[in-house]
Each structure stands twice: as structure tokens, then as C-alpha cells.
Symmetry: C2
Subunit: 554 residues, 2 copies
């Protein structure tokens, strides 16, 4: 039984979710020493073998072929096509698959999801290249971000699903005395029933990081899944779907528990999926605007969203100036700030800050940050490893527009860097803009591009007020504080909490400051406009199934 | 510390929720032997002292007086008025109260809620009379239904709230090695943050049974509550609000964590409360129509509903004919079928059923049921104890309309019974109608009145199909099956589960067949139109709070 097979891993995951310490059952690094000798080369070859041909995915409801992905590294089409599905037929196949799946015990479903997770780990190298050439991530990030780190978030959600389901017993005996008539004993049984088909909408830049949690949470609780990849992020999803469908079939379960619904920008099918009467659950990752629309207009479905905010950094003081600057520079360069935790708005007091290197004024800070960024992007090898490529042309247009905005001073201009391996890569170094605090309209939303605003605040209080107000009104997924003042720190922690935002304080190198750890960092508070779902808490899973009871006298 | 004080009770409640056995920390019976000598007399006197005068409730935002309750037993006004509130001001007071309350530890909030529950138990006799003279329940039901049974459901919800909150640790240490740079250790803290003001809308017939779970679930998770009683069910709620506000104040907490928003039918304020921008959570008990409207139109709030369905009884066979007939007769008479678990549609095969007394045909069943009901309502003392009074005039109008419907045969007519204590009581004995199965329109919705339909089904299969289809399309809170055939029972259990309905099988006297037990019977599946909330599971509580995190290097 698969539950028994993975029970030790589950127990360790349960312990990690309780203690929220570091833990992973996966190999996080692609380092040669940690993998079979040819794993990397084979994975890469497997990816290359996929190019310029139809992707073989045996699933129902196919009515043609679709897909038009362009590699951010070559800016040429991958040349892969995928099944185009008929939505109604796919929905029917999904509903049909539920009928047998909901009869499978919750424990066995959980065990099978673990089996899937470890099978998916085996194709991490292939998926890393697929993610590179669709999202634009550098190899190392693509490896972890679509591999172990994404699987960790998936196992985390799976663990919470197990916890919520295990909270309901299978049976009970209930005895009660009714007056003189005497004792009555009832035997009761409780079955966990899924809600119905879940539609999982993936984003372009981190195709699997939110997809695995949603897929595992849904499958474990008995709900079949139709996964809708981003039009330029199909391949990583397709690889995962093919792997999971194989695991299902190998264990004699209906592979239609997971169906991929690919589309193109020109012929989108997302709305047809979301609004389909059979859709019971929606897991959405993407823009804040569309996420809020779904929350409002799909009230008859259970809706989980992770979208975007304008992540702020409040700088009040530091006892590690170099570490702070390096940490920020890394985060601004990292995947060209296309991460949902990338900082965007740096609130810095015009009055300057105290540091371990003396008083630092706004102009000092500008130059230190610009220098730190330059030292990273001036070296093409380092730039490539850190920045990767730009996922979409729109980001370049954003940079062009912002650079020439009359309200900004360009502290560090953005330009392409020459990728050492892919001369045609769509690249852009960080654009650093100084702006007066009053120009709210400019920075009060996410600009999905490598850009940061150095916002001139009157003082640390104004910085805190502005940053928390932005989090409250426009959302925040990660917020940052640098301060050595215990009183200010507590005030900031409370102010961000009041704004519905979590706060990461004094994060410096060597850790990537915006790294969010499965089993430990709750991702998304649900208390600001950046989404309503949390990776992972009980609320993420407890409502995906319902309880139906049978009772009769013993 | 109040948490410590009540920890043993909490532990017992946690055990009961896990094993789902019978348990209660409250005295379920009003029997003299179980209470202080004068408890009953004092409680009754306290109720009578409330009549014909203003109800003293010291709460903010009062802009006048309101309330017009009529006793179903005297059909005269209670003559009590209550604070009329300004919605905006009450909302503001509620939001203000949250600021300090959310700083209180979850454990202390849970402890204080237990303190409230035991304080509320002390006024059970007074509240029983208040419930009698607003809802129309007989004394015994009013005692348990607004007292121990309601408090049990409240403590159950409170226990789940504790469980969900205890799942999140206060702090964590997280250590991870980042390449050659070495190990980084972060200390993390997690705070549980309430969503905001919860509006709890109560129903007329069981004012506290759903109110206590909602109030305790919200208060425990940090959310202040504005409770909106039914216009004819204010007094039971007012008594509870006054008691809870006193407990809060006695322990130096802001009493505005619970505010009552009374209104009248002529000047309703429910919509203003539900649609207020500060309202974050809605707990609604009432009609299915309005419940579905809220689910659809208040998508920006967290919505929990318990409404109504057309509860069905499928009769295929029985080995205890007398017990079944008596059980059904009790349930049809009990509080004049004004309970959310009262059966309404009895599906009986025209081909008859097997029983321990031989073959029973439709005509036999009609007569047996009519006789059993008559034996209960012919005796005014027994009728009064069992049926109580009719809450609203509308129910009498429903009876008048149905009795003269051309599609029905009146098997047993409804009429007033003479209440031995209250000669003016609004009473009605059960109306029993026989109807052909084809007349769906007649019985495919809840008729809120003492009426049942004996539906002539071709056979047991047709009965099952019809009953499950009704549950699926029109909702069901309790469904009943009588069968001695193990194969048919399994099929029925699965068919009802497929329709999203729980099933109670072969329930006979001495137990009231429609009794739903806290800590054991999950109430409402959320999979059919009779509501989306479940008393009580993790989904009922886990999303009422959110998690905000602070992290920094150790």
C-alpha cells in the first residue's frame, strides 16, 4: 500500500509543518555529486528531443493541436504542439474520473500523491530546461523552482490535506440515554466527498511552484484536476501531467484525474474553464486584476488565488550595510525581479540612515545599490546565472515607459546583457529609479519587470506609513524591513500586520532575501489584495472536501 | 488564566470531536433534581420580569428603540423594546474592539469563550422561556434547544477553532545551508490575525442553535461579532448578548466585541449589515432563497450558511413497523415540524413494503401514520409538550393553501389543538397529504409548516431516485431511510452521498429520529443547496483567521 510506503516521509513532513523547521525529502541541488552520473546530460537530451515536434500526451477530448511557445533564450518558437481540448468533453472525462477516485481511501490517495512527487523529482533536469526555455529562468533557479522547491510546496499542501482529512474518523459509536426509554446506540460512518473538478491556472514565470500545491491538494482530497498552463509555459506543465497520468495509470487509476488544457494567447480557454458549471474549485496564479475578478465573479466556486502586490522595502538603519546592499542587489537581479517575492519599492529616508559604516544618505544609498547591481550584471556569466532572461516582451515595454517618465531620475539604466550561451536571449538588467514619495501613481502597483523605485521619504516614519498603506491597498506578498532599533522594529511589525502583510527583517546575504521556504514560510496572508490563499495552512485544504454521514442503530 | 481553568473541558471536547461519541459538559435536562432548588422558578420569574418594559442593554450606537415580538403562545406582544442601532457606528465600535482583542492570545480567547458558555448555561431557564415565547417551542425543547444543546454546538465550534489555531506554532527556528556561504538561521514568529467584523444572522425558530457556534467560532479566532436576531426572536439573543458582554467587561475586555443589531420586519437592517464594507464574515441561518442570494452576492465576504431543504424519507422495508411509525409521528409533531431536520416528503412504494407485521400497503401506511399522529395530538397535554406553537402566521397560510390543492388527498387534516396553558396559542396539528409522485412542483421545496407529503412511488427504486434528486436539486439537511435489505441500504447510502446528502437509517423511537448531536453528527454537508457550512469541521473555522509572519536572522 502506497500510504505505508511513504508514511515515514509523511511523518517527517507533518513534523516539519508543526515545527516549521528546514526539511525536504528532495535533492535541492543539481550538483553532479548528488545525482546519477548522466542524470543532467540525459535530462537535457530529453528536453532537446522534445523540440520541434508534437508533444505526445495521450488524453481525452483532443480536437486538434495547439501551443505556441517562444524561448526567452533564443526568442524562437519551441516548435512543440500539444493537444487542444474540447472543454465540455474534458470536463466530462474529469467528472467521470472522480466517480472511482472518490471511492479510494484518503490515505491511499495521499500515498499515490507522494508516489507522483518522487516520480516528478526524477524528471527535474528535463523540467528545468523546459522551465528555462519558457519562463526564462536561469538553469539553477529553474531546477529548484520547478523541481525540489516546487515539489516541497506540493508535499506541504499534501501534508495539510492529509491532516485535515485525518481529522475526520471513519466511524463512531454514539450512545445516549433518552429518559426512561433507556440507552440508544448508533453506529455512524463518515465519508469524505470531493467537491468536483478543480481548474488550476498556472503562471508563466513559475509554472510549477503553485501548480504542485494545488494539484496535490485537489487530488488528495478526491477532486480531479484540469490544469491550464500559461500559453508560454506549457512544456513544464505538460511534462508533469504526462508523468502524473502515467503514475495513475500504472496503479490502475483513471489518468483523466489530471488533464491539461493548453491554449494560446490568441485563442484563450481560461474563462470557459473557470465558468464551466462542472468547475467546483479554482486555483489561480497570475495577475492581481484577473485574480480579483475571479474572486468576485466566480462566487459559486471555491476560489484560491495567488496574484501580485507591490512589495516594499523599508530602510531605517542597519548594522550590516554591505550585507543589506548585496541582499537587495541580489533580489533585484534575481530572475530579473520576475518573482512574486521580488522587492520593488525601496522606501529610504531623505534624512539618511545610521549604519555600521556611519550615516548613509539617499545619494550614498543610490550609488551603493547601483554599484552592487553593476558588479553583478557587468560579468555576463554572473548576470546569466543570476538574472536569467525576460519572460515577456511586455516587460521591456514597461522598462521603456518607466525610464522616460518625467517623475523619475534614472539612477541606473537598464539594458540588455550579453548572454554567454544564448546570444539572442531577451535580457534586461535592473532599472533603478529615484522618485519623490508624492508620485504614488507611479509605484502603487506591480510593474512586472526588473525595476525598482528608490522612494524619497521624509523620514523613517513616513517610509513605514507609505509602505504599509501600499501593502494594504495594493497588496504585498513579501515586505522587507532593515532596522536595528528594537522599538521601531516592533512598530513596523505591527504596522505591516495591521496592513495584512508579513515582514522579513534584516535579511542579508548569503541567503537570497526573498526565498520562501516550504513547511516554514506561510506564503500569502489573504489579508491584502495579493491573493486569498495561503501555502499552506488548514484553510488551503479543509474546504476542498465535505463530510457525508450515515447513521443507524447498532 | 482562563485557558487553564477550562483546559480539562477542552481536552474532553477534543476527545469527543475525534471519537464523535456522546459527551456534554452541560446539564441537558431541566429536571429539578439536577439543578438548584429554585433555579427553574427563578428563571421563569426573571423572564416574566422582562416583559412589558425596555430591555436594558448597555451597548454603543443606540439611536432609539426597536423590537416588536409577539408570543406564539399568547399572540400578544411581549412589549419589550431593545436598542435600535446606527449601523455605521456599531460597525465602528466593532472594529475598534477588534484592535485590542486580536492582541489577546488565542488560548486566552478560547478560555474566555468557555467562561461565557458556562455563564450562559446559568441562564438557561430564563432563555428557555424567552425562546418559548418567541420561537413557539415547548418548554423542554426550548430549554435544551437554546440551552445545553445549543451550547454544545457552540463549544464544538470553539473546540475546532482551538484546534485550527493550535495548528500554527508561535515561533520557529529555521536553519539552512546556502552553498559555500554556510548556514543561515532565521527566527520566525507567526501571529493569527482575525479577518474583521462578523455579522451573525439568527433564525426565528432556533435562535441560539446556530448562533452560539458562529459567535464562539468568531470570537475565539479574534473577530468581533454583530448579531442580528430575527425580528420575532430578539429576546433569547438579547439575553445571551447581555451575558457575554458582562463576561467580557468583567475580564477587562471590550464588551463591544458582541453587539446586537435588532430590527423589525417593517424596518429591516440585515442588508445594511451584510453589505457593509467593514463586514468580513457572514454567518447566516434562515431561508434557502436568501442564503443562496448571500452566497452569490457577498463574494467579498467569507460566507457560511445554514438554510433549508426538503427532507425526504425513503421507506423500502422495516423490521420495526411500530417503532418507525412512532418515530415518524414524533418527528412530524415535534415543534410542529419547524425544525431544519424535520422530515417532509415520505416516499412510499405503491407496491407496498415488507415489515415485521407483514406486507404494508400505501393505504395501511396512511392509516397507521394518521393514527399515530392522532394519538399524540388528541391529548392536549401531550400535544403541547410535543408540538409547541406555530412561530409565524405564514405557516397557517401554507397549511390552508396546501389542504385545498387539487393534487392532494388529505389523509389527516390539520387543526388547532387547545393548549392547556395558553388558550390563545397559535397551534396546528400535522397536515398529512397523499400525492402522486408526478406532482413534483408541490413537494420540491420546503413548506415551513407542519405538513408532510406521502408520495406514491412506483417502487422502492423510484422512491430512491426521486428523493435523491430532490436532495440534489432542492437541498436536504436530514434524509431518512427505512430498509432491512443490506444491498438496498448500501445503494441508498451511495445514492444520497452522490446527491450530497447524509442519511439516517432505520431511526425509531425511543430516540427523536431527527436529533442531531453536537461533537458527533456533522450538520449540513455543503454539497446541496441547504447551506455551505458544517457544524462543525475544520473548514468552519480555519479561514476565519489568517497567518502573518515575521522573520529575521537569529
Amino acid at each position: 500500500m502506497l500510504f505505508k510506503k511513504h508514511q515515514q516521509v509523511l511523518d517527517a513532513a507533518l513534523a516539519a509543518c508543526s515545527a516549521r523547521h528546514y526539511w525536504s525529502p528532495f535533492i535541492e541541488s543539481p550538483s553532479r555529486q548528488l545525482h546519477p552520473k548522466d542524470a543532467h546530460a540525459n535530462g537535457k537530451a530529453a528536453f532537446e528531443a522534445l523540440l520541434q515536434k508534437p508533444f505526445s500526451l495521450d488524453q481525452p477530448a483532443e480536437i486538434g493541436r495547439t501551443g505556441h511557445e517562444v524561448s526567452p533564450y533564443t526568442q524562437r518558437p519551441l516548435g512543440i504542439d500539444y493537444p487542444k481540448i474540447d472543454v465540455d468533453s474534458a470536463m466530462q472525462a474529469s467528472s467521470d474520473a472522480r466517480l472511482s477516485w472518490q471511492q479510494v481511501s484518503p490515505e491511499e490517495r495521499v500515498g499515490l500523491c507522494f508516489e507522483m512527487a518522487f516520480a516528478l523529482e526524477k524528471q527535474c533536469f528535463t523540467n528545468a530546461y523546459a522551465t528555462m526555455h519558457t519562463a526564462g529562468q536561469a538553469f539553477l533557479m529553474a531546477y529548484s523552482g520547478s523541481g525540489p522547491n516546487a515539489l516541497d510546496r506540493g508535499v506541504e499542501a499534501l501534508t495539510y490535506a492529509h491532516k485535515a482529512m485525518a481529522d475526520v474518523p471513519n466511524r463512531a459509536l454514539w450512545s445516549k440515554t433518552f429518559g426512561r426509554a433507556g440507552e440508544v446506540t448508533l453506529e455512524k460512518s463518515y465519508r469524505l466527498v470531493p467537491r468536483g473538478t478543480a481548474v488550476v491556472v498556472c503562471c508563466a514565470t513559475f509554472p510549477m511552484w503553485n501548480a504542485y500545491p494545488a494539484i496535490f491538494a485537489n487530488l488528495a482530497t478526491g477532486n480531479p484536476v484540469i490544469v491550464k498552463p500559461h500559453p508560454n509555459g506549457i512544456l513544464p506543465v505538460a511534462l508533469a501531467v504526462r508523468c502524473i497520468r502515467k503514475i495513475l495509470a500504472d496503479h490502475d487509476y483513471d489518468p483523466n484525474l489530471l488533464i491539461m488544457a493548453a491554449d494560446t494567447r490568441d485563442q484563450p480557454i481560461t474563462l470557459a474553464l473557470l465558468q464551466h458549471p462542472d468547475t467546483a474549485i479554482i486555483d489561480y496564479t497570475g495577475s492581481q486584476e484577473f485574480g480579483l475578478w475571479i474572486e468576485k465573479n466566480c462566487a459559486d466556486k471555491l476560489v484560491y488565488t495567488e496574484t501580485a502586490g507591490c512589495n516594499g522595502v523599508v530602510i531605517q538603519s542597519t548594522d550590516n550595510l554591505d550585507g543589506m546592499i548585496d541582499g537587495l542587489a541580489n533580489a533585484l537581479c534575481g530572475f530579473s525581479a520576475q518573482m512574486c517575492t521580488s522587492p520593488q519599492n525601496i522606501h529610504f529616508p531623505l534624512s539618511g540612515i545610521d549604519s555600521d559604516q556611519g550615516r548613509i544618505h539617499f545619494a550614498d544609498f543610490e550609488q551603493l545599490l547601483a554599484t552592487a547591481i553593476n558588479s553583478r550584471v557587468d560579468n555576463p556569466v554572473r548576470a546569466a546565472a543570476l538574472c536569467g532572461a525576460i519572460q515577456a516582451d511586455e516587460s521591456l515595454a514597461i522598462l521603456a515607459r518607466l525610464r522616460s517618465d518625467p517623475c523619475v531620475d534614472v539612477i541606473l539604466d537598464s539594458g540588455p546583457y550579453q548572454h554567454p550561451e544564448f546570444p539572442e536571449a531577451r535580457t534586461a538588467t535592473p532599472l533603478v529609479l529615484a522618485v519623490d514619495a508624492e508620485h504614488h501613481a507611479l509605484y502603487s502597483r506591480e510593474h512586472f519587470a526588473p525595476v525598482c523605485f528608490l522612494i524619497k521619504e521624509q523620514d523613517a516614519e513616513a517610509a513605514l506609513n507609505n509602505a504599509t498603506q501600499l501593502a494594504r491597498q495594493h497588496g504585498a506578498i513579501a515586505s522587507y524591513l532593515y532596522s536595528t532599533d528594537p522599538v521601531y522594529k516592533v512598530r513596523a511589525e505591527n504596522a505591516f500586520a495591521d496592513a495584512g502583510a508579513s515582514l522579513w527583517c534584516n535579511m542579508t546575504v548569503p541567503m537570497p532575501i526573498n526565498f520562501a521556504a516550504a513547511y516554514s514560510d506561510y506564503h500569502i496572508t489573504g489579508l491584502n489584495p495579493a491573493g486569498n490563499a495561503c501555502l499552506a495552512d488548514l484553510a488551503f485544504v479543509a474546504n476542498r472536501f465535505r463530510i457525508i454521514q450515515f447513521r443507524q442503530p447498532l
